[in-house]
């Protein structure tokens, strides 16, 4: 658990963070979102002490980070810096493995770990010998993520790690990242500009403006509960539709049906936004197969699911 209380950060006289309170539970992913210059990166950097705060305290699993040896703190935290910052004199493998080498891992273990990470981030294994300047922006970002994940730290700080990816790869990586983080019970603080990314990854979304957290809610609660005008404007009118992306047809808990001809090639893992789009296009139910079972999906199924979703309590 990471707990920030009454954080204040000044750069000279300019206030980058003020009165920030935030508690991040174990295994939770909090997404920081807000306009450029609102203090997202500063908040992230204060957690691994890349910057030191001027007021307030931060505790890391009940220990004040100021009293911990800084290297020890940082080794428990994987950090993807906004500028990627790969080491130009090392190839991809050496970049990912630098800390493993320092920690004196065996060469075979290093090899295995690097392969594992590259596969996860959809990069070919042949890239291991490439130099950072031979990578595209999106590839470099993914190598940066691999480097941060290499030692399997319990906490991850990600500063716009997928910003340079094309939408297709982006969504694949986002889902892979979310699944891994959930499976390994990682505590994540994730910075993004992209509201869809925030919805997809965040257990909670922290909306920031001018150095403050304006609103902190689950993505679902944010549909109804928009405390400030700023929130309304920032998340946009189509926000509720985007929230559907968090869910899959599986979450509707449909009962299998029989004796119906399949009409569509979706399955239980299709996200609800896509499923809704299909339902809008036609009046008949969408009939699809997943494994041995056949299912029928109606517009009303999704509609009632949305109703129920909003009644879930926020943190």
């Amino acid at each position: 658990m990471i707990k920030l209380s009454q954080i204040r950060k000044l750069y000279d006289t300019q206030e980058a963070l003020c009165n920030v309170d935030l508690q991040i539970e174990d295994g939770e992913c909090v997404v920081l979102i807000g306009p450029s210059g609102c203090g997202k990166s500063s908040l992230l950097k204060s957690i691994n002490r890349m910057i030191d705060i001027d007021e307030g305290t931060i505790t890391f699993f009940n220990e004040d980070i100021q009293s911990m040896p800084v290297e020890q703190l940082r080794r428990k935290i994987g950090y993807c810096i906004q500028g990627v910052g790969l080491f130009p004199h090392m190839n991809v493998k050496e970049n990912i493995a630098i800390l493993l080498r320092i920690l004196k891992w065996k060469e075979a273990d290093i090899e295995r770990r690097v392969d594992e990470l590259l596969i996860m981030s959809e990069l070919p294994l042949s890239y291991k010998t490439k130099r950072p300047h031979e990578l595209s922006g999106g590839e470099a970002q993914r190598v940066g993520v691999c480097r941060a994940l290499a030692t399997d730290p319990p906490v991850l700080l990600m500063d716009e790690p997928f910003g340079a990816l094309d939408p297709m790869t982006r969504e694949k990586i986002q889902i892979a990242f979310r699944d891994i983080a959930q499976k390994l019970h990682k505590t994540v603080v994730f910075v993004t500009h992209d509201i869809e990314e925030a919805i997809l990854l965040g257990d909670r979304i922290a909306l920031m403006n001018e150095g403050q957290i304006v609103q902190l809610s689950t993505p679902e609660a944010l549909i109804q509960d928009q405390k400030e005008n700023f929130t309304k404007n920032f998340i946009g009118q189509d926000y509720p539709l985007m929230v559907l992306k968090r869910y899959r047809v599986r979450d509707l808990k449909l009962e299998p049906v029989s004796n119906l001809a399949v009409t569509h090639g979706i399955d239980l893992d299709t996200n609800l936004k896509e499923a809704l789009a299909l339902c809008i296009k036609q009046t008949e139910p969408v009939i699809f197969k997943d494994g041995p079972n056949t299912y029928a999906l109606l517009y009303s199924d999704i509609f009632s699911f949305i109703r129920g979703m909003q009644n879930e309590t926020a943190y």
Binding site: R74, V84, P88, H89, M90
Partner: protein
């Protein structure tokens, strides 16, 4: 430079052989000589015609090979035939000599400019230069004033060459660690930086000669008051003052290049190294120093080349080196002796420049700091 321009330039340089002096005949080493021209060398003008033709564009492969060979030996041949000047005066063959005139120097440059238009030009020029040096060493230019001076003091020539190099290298090595240290410290302490840079710049601004003079006084008095220091070589003249001045001079390029080397490091690279939980020692040895190294080496290269030239001044205070030949030559107005002292310095400076720059480029590519040109 475009190849066409270079060919034109060599054409002009070769043409000077027709109307500028080829050399001077001197009855002894100091008296002014009498000028002679190409026409006094028998059929040598035919060689010059060849040279002029070789500047034209050549399509045939075997003709091009022929030209390359011709251009490589041309400097040696030109010097060799300049010795064929038919002497009519009464003279003593042991002291009479020939000095090279401006047109020969220009024509040699012409040959090398022309070689530079070919593939592997630098290699071919080096070959041509080596041929010249080897023939010189083998005694193929016995009439040349330069050779006569060389033969007369062969032993001291090599001794001074060796002293020159060891003075240049040792003073550089002495400045190396302090220079890098000062440069590194000025990146870490901005306030200290102005002091350090001011201090280091100070030496550069003061003329080398006045620095030498200023040092002589305290060193001389130190040596006089403490006999044991004198026994160690602390004197107003000799090796020590030259060594100190050269070291101080070498400091600036090393310090300022080290400073920029560390300053230009990408902050996001440094931050990600720190954020991984590397200790500051690990960040230094694994990231910042390797990335700064190529630029530090640039500084060392500049300091070394500069040192090779500056070491000439050691000759003034009895520190040895090629300077002692040059200043002796100046004192005796023996131009060939001056040449004998200065040509090796020029050659050394150019040679080391080429070698060091090449290594540096390789290193920069390896460190991934120069991928644009890779």
């Amino acid at each position: 430079m475009k190849d066409g321009i270079r060919r034109g330039l060599s054409l002009i340089l070769f043409a000077t052989l027709f109307f500028l002096p080829i050399g001077f005949f001197k009855v002894n080493r100091v008296l002014n000589g009498s000028v002679f021209s190409l026409w006094e060398l028998g059929y040598a003008w035919m060689l010059v015609l060849f040279a002029l033709f070789s500047t034209f564009k050549i399509e045939f492969k075997w003709l091009r090979y022929l030209r390359t060979g011709f251009l490589i030996v041309l400097p040696s041949v030109l010097i060799y035939i300049s010795q064929r000047y038919v002497i009519t005066e009464i003279y003593d063959p042991n002291v009479a000599r020939i000095s090279l005139g401006p047109s020969i120097y220009l024509a040699i440059i012409g040959a090398w400019v022309l070689l530079s238009t070919e593939t592997k030009g630098t290699l071919k020029i080096t070959l041509s230069l080596l041929a010249l040096l080897v023939l010189f060493g083998l005694g193929m230019f016995p009439m040349l004033g330069l050779y006569k001076e060389y033969i007369n003091r062969q032993a001291s020539f090599f001794l001074e060459l060796q002293r020159h190099l060891s003075l240049a290298v040792s003073s550089l090595l002495f400045a190396l660690i302090p220079g890098i240290y000062l440069g590194y410290q000025s990146t870490r302490h901005p306030r200290l930086r102005e002091w350090i840079m001011g201090f280091v710049n100070g030496f550069q601004v003061a003329p080398t000669l006045s620095m030498l003079a200023l040092l002589m006084i305290p060193l001389a008095s130190l040596g006089q008051s403490f006999p044991f220091l004198r026994a160690w070589g602390v004197k107003g003249v000799g090796f020590l003052p030259a060594f100190i001045v050269l070291s101080l001079y070498a400091l600036l390029p090393i310090t300022s290049n080290t400073y920029t080397a560390f300053k230009q490091l990408d902050p996001s690279v440094m931050d990600s190294a720190k954020a991984l939980g590397m200790s500051s020692k690990q960040v230094f040895s694994k990231v910042s120093f390797p990335l700064a190294l190529p630029f530090i080496i640039t500084g060392v290269r500049i300091a070394f080349i500069q040192n090779i030239g500056n070491t000439i001044l050691a000759g003034l205070v009895g520190g040895g080196g090629m300077g002692s030949l040059i200043f002796l030559g100046l004192a005796q107005s023996a131009t060939d002796l001056i040449l004998l002292g200065s040509l090796p310095v020029v050659l050394m400076a150019m040679g080391f420049e080429v070698i060091l720059e090449f290594t540096e480029l390789r290193l920069k590519k390896k460190m991934g700091v120069l991928y644009d040109q890779a």
